[in-house]
């Protein structure tokens, strides 16, 4: 057990834990933030995505020691004042079906728009291709990303 400190959703947190514990389980089991989901456990599907220093990263195999002193944002901390533009677009477009993968989808979309505020369909495909949705909401996600991009630009 070691002391681990990082910034989580804009607040400093320090906890005593096994530093090898994947960030996913620290968030879910130790900090009670269950918006970050377990789905494949191998970094294949993207349901466990969080933002680390603004980049979309998969948390299911990432030891918590690797985020020491970094800024971690989960779905719970994404909207600062109400929902983020991407979350709003998701609601407007009725994107989610079961909703289980959507935290990961949203955070990947946020990271994409940070780097590319006006992505083409092909650029969305490239950025989002590894984020899986068994319900098949891809078409709506694409539409919502365009909508959010427009919102952010205007």
């Amino acid at each position: 057990m070691e002391k681990v400190t990082f910034t989580l959703n804009h607040k400093r947190v320090t906890l005593e834990t096994d530093p090898e514990t994947p960030l996913l389980w620290v968030l879910r089991d130790e900090l009670g933030l269950t918006g970050t989901k377990y789905s494949c456990g191998m970094g294949i599907c993207g349901s466990c995505t969080v933002l680390i220093d603004g980049n979309a990263r998969r948390s299911c195999r990432l030891p918590v020691k690797s985020v020491i002193d970094k800024e971690v944002v989960t779905i719970e901390g994404l909207g600062v004042d109400g929902l983020h533009a991407v979350q709003n677009a998701w609601v407007e477009e009725e994107v989610p079906q079961c909703g289980y993968c959507q935290s990961g989808q949203i955070l990947n979309a946020v990271a994409l728009l940070e780097k590319n505020p006006d992505p083409s369909d092909a650029e969305i495909d490239r950025a989002m291709d590894g984020v899986l949705c068994r319900c098949g909401t891809y078409q709506r996600i694409k539409k919502a990303i365009h909508k959010a991009a427009e919102e952010v630009r205007s």
């Binding site: 057990m1 096994d18 514990t21 994947p22 389980w25 879910r28 089991d29 130790e30 009670g32 933030l33 269950t34 918006g35 970050t36 989901k37 377990y38 789905s39 494949c40 456990g41 191998m42 294949i44 599907c45 349901s47 989960t74 779905i75 719970e76 994404l78 909207g79 929902l83 979350q87 998701w90 609601v91 009725e94 994107v95 989610p96 079906q97 079961c98 909703g99 289980y100 993968c101 959507q102 935290s103 949203i106 969305i124 495909d125 490239r126 989002m128 291709d129 590894g130 984020v131 899986l132 949705c133 068994r134 319900c135 098949g136 909401t137 891809y138 078409q139 709506r140 996600i141 694409k142």
Partner: protein, 694 residues
């Protein structure tokens, strides 16, 4: 729209509805005892188990089925709210736990809308009638002079009005009417509108809790090291290393393997890695997919039963001018919902309490009863939200896991599965092989149709034959038959069940005979379906919207398929192209669907989009294989899902209809792969008969 909240305690609701069993005899789940409700509280009005109106105007609607992404959390309450003339912004939804007043709570067969429509309409209309009666009585005016709209009762001849919340005390004292008048569907204000999901916001802000997220104070987490091959048994166990992992509390044997109970998920997973277990090879250690395929093909020569026998197929075959003979084969498929299976159980105060993300809580209840030997009233099962289901969560194996593990603990225990466990321990869509043939006479009329099906069916032939006899094509000579096999691989309902196989066979066979006899596939279908207006309706709508028959860009081709399942009708036109590498690209899917009266058109579109993607995934990649008595696939790298870059444009067109409403979850799945394969055949000339094909 307002966001949802589950403010009413579930147990309160069980209390409200437990008095209503006697009313079930009447055919509907009425809670007749208005006085009881009035005594329980003057602040609420609950004439039946489906709703409760508070003095603050809040309308709490109980959703008696399970939500897993099909959006019945919104569409079922829309039905009740329509007849209640409710103010939609005041509606809150409560997940109904297992309760006999609701009848079967199995959520499958695209049946929620179809079976709940009349019940929920009547439940809403009953409450509205009583609220109007209460208002009329207090104003001392005739009931006929009053009406309700958006949560308020009005008197036509004066300006008097009263919000529902003000009337609950009076309404609760009235006798519950057994006969009520339902609205004229032409006056629907809510049904038919694309209402936003009541739980939409909770799915984008991380607040919605699924089974995997469920938590109780002092709860422990367990994972199971599972039986590695069908029929294999535990021969030896050394748990000493596992027990040294910090946080691991106990290692216990259960029917499905060896469970590690720990303080949290990570400890349980680390503990499981340290278990040393030896297993017997078991009786199926040499079982593999190629042997299964060979056996199923061989069983094609054996007929267990004929399920359709019209005219004389042999005679028609002899006189046909052209015939087509094809053998089709499909593999086992896993559901692989995004949220792996899990369940929580707790033995306390002489009862077994279960929290299950389940499509069929009744099944879980029965499993708990079998395992514990407890009486009915000593088992409580709550339904939790699911991250996808697709038929997988109709089973109760994961509930049994939780009950068995929790028997070894005073604390509540959540048993979770990792992805590999979930894929390897499924109840799969059966593998099957099909021998199919058809022929035409010199006029191009299809004269015979023959289809022999062979597959594992676990004793119920519908698992492999469902949909085979229901193609509706006017063909005078038909013979449809099957042979069932017994295999140790568990099978179960996979989104649209056997329709996935039989639509594939029916629609590719018909396409092939159209090609062989030089007929347009849509024209031929139109002729053969002329007495089936709803099938024709979707076929014509899809063909029109996809510009069937018009010239496509060079290197593109289109294919069509139509299929009825679960009383809904879907036609698909698929447009494909081929990359230089030879890889097929699905460009566009045009879907037409007839679900009768539409409750929420956006919900229907969403289910079509999802069904199409799931079907394309199956056609391109879906395959569970058996090696040495076990499932080979383990995760999304070897059981892949369709990705963004492979997703076609999906356009959904809904037939306008006043027919009774039916469901949209499964019906879009069956016709999608054959439409795709027919398009590929039109483009390349290659008739694909084995799935997956990529």
């Amino acid at each position: 729209m307002t966001s949802q909240s589950n403010t009413l305690n579930r147990r309160d609701f069980i209390k409200l509805s437990t008095g209503s069993t006697a009313a079930l005899v009447l055919g509907l789940s009425w809670s007749c005892d208005g006085n009881r409700v009035a005594k329980a509280s003057n602040a609420t009005f609950s004439p039946n188990a489906y709703l409760e109106i508070g003095s603050d105007d809040t309308v709490r609607i109980v959703m008696p089925r399970s939500e897993m992404g099909q959006k019945i959390y919104t569409s079922l309450p829309m039905i009740l709210a329509e007849e209640l003339e409710a103010d939609w912004t005041k509606v809150k939804v409560i997940q109904g736990d297992l309760n006999e007043v609701f009848g079967s709570q199995s959520t499958g067969g695209s049946a929620s809308i179809r079976t709940q429509y009349d019940i929920l309409r009547k439940a809403g209309a009953t409450a509205k009638t009583m609220l109007i009666q209460a208002a009329a009585a207090s104003w001392q005016v005739p009931v006929e002079k009053c009406y309700a709209s958006e949560g308020v009762v009005y008197h036509k001849d004066s300006k008097r009005k009263s919000a529902y919340g003000k009337l609950v005390g009076q309404a609760a004292k009235l006798p519950v009417p057994t006969e009520v008048t339902l609205k004229d569907p032409r006056k629907f204000k809510i049904i038919g509108k694309a209402y936003k999901s009541l739980d939409g916001r909770s799915k984008v802000d991380g607040s919605l809790k699924y089974g995997y997220d469920f938590h109780l104070p002092g709860m422990l987490t367990a994972v199971i090291s599972r039986i590695p091959r069908y029929g294999s048994e535990l021969e030896g166990m050394d748990d000493s290393a596992a027990l040294t992992v910090p946080g691991v509390l106990k290692v216990v044997k259960v029917s499905s393997g060896v469970a590690v109970i720990a303080k949290n998920s990570y400890a349980a997973l680390e503990g499981r890695k340290k278990l040393e277990l030896t297993w017997s090879p078991g009786p199926h250690a040499s079982l593999n997919s190629s042997q299964i395929s060979a056996d199923l093909n061989q069983a094609l020569d054996r007929t267990d039963a004929i399920i359709r026998d019209d005219g004389d197929v042999e005679q028609a075959r002899r006189s046909a001018t052209k015939t087509v003979d094809l053998t089709f084969e499909v593999p086992y498929l896993d559901h692989a919902p995004q949220e792996p299976n899990n369940c929580t159980a707790h033995f306390h105060d002489g009862i077994c309490e279960i929290w299950a993300p389940s499509q069929n809580p009744g099944n879980g209840f029965n499993a708990a009863k079998r395992i514990t030997g407890l009486n009915d009233h000593e088992i409580i099962i709550h339904t939790l939200r699911m991250g996808g289901g697709f038929g997988r969560r109709l089973q109760a194996d994961y509930v049994a896991d939780a009950v068995e593990v929790a028997q070894h603990s005073d604390s509540p225990v959540k048993v979770i599965r990792t992805r590999d466990e979930d894929i390897k321990n499924g109840f799969y869509r059966p593998a099957s092989v099909h021998r199919a043939s058809a022929g035409v006479d010199q006029n191009g009329a299809v004269t015979f149709w023959q289809h022999q099906i062979s597959g594992p069916a676990a004793g119920w032939h519908g698992m492999i034959t469902g949909g085979a006899t229901e193609h509706a094509y006017a063909i005078p000579n038909q013979k449809i038959s099957y042979s069932m096999s017994d295999l140790p691989v568990p099978i179960g309902a996979w989104r649209s069940v056997a329709n996935t196989q039989t639509a594939f066979v029916n629609e590719c066979l018909l396409d092939e005979i159209a090609i062989k006899s030089d007929q347009d596939p849509v024209e031929l279908r139109r002729r053969l379906l002329k007495d089936h207006p709803r099938r024709l309706g979707v076929l014509n709508l899809a063909a029109e919207k996809a510009n069937w028959g018009k010239k496509l860009p060079d290197g593109h081709a289109a294919g069509v398929a139509v299929h009825k399942s679960f009383q809904s009708y879907v036609a698909i036109v698929a447009e494909v192209s081929q990359e230089k590498s030879g890889k097929i690209r699905v460009e566009k899917i045009t879907a037409a669907i007839d679900v009768g009266t539409v409750i929420n058109p956006d919900g229907v579109r969403s289910q079509v989009e999802g069904g199409v993607i799931m079907a394309l995934t199956a056609a391109l990649y879906g395959e569970i294989t058996i090696e040495k008595g076990a499932v080979k696939q383990s995760n999304f790298h070897n059981y892949p899902l369709l990705k963004f870059s492979e997703t076609p444009v999906i356009e959904t067109h809904i037939v306008k209809s006043m027919e009774k409403p039916t469901g949209a979850g499964e019906p879009p799945v069956p016709p999608t792969p054959p439409a795709l394969l027919n398009a590929i055949c039109a483009l390349t000339g290659e008739r694909i008969t084995r799935l997956p094909f990529s």
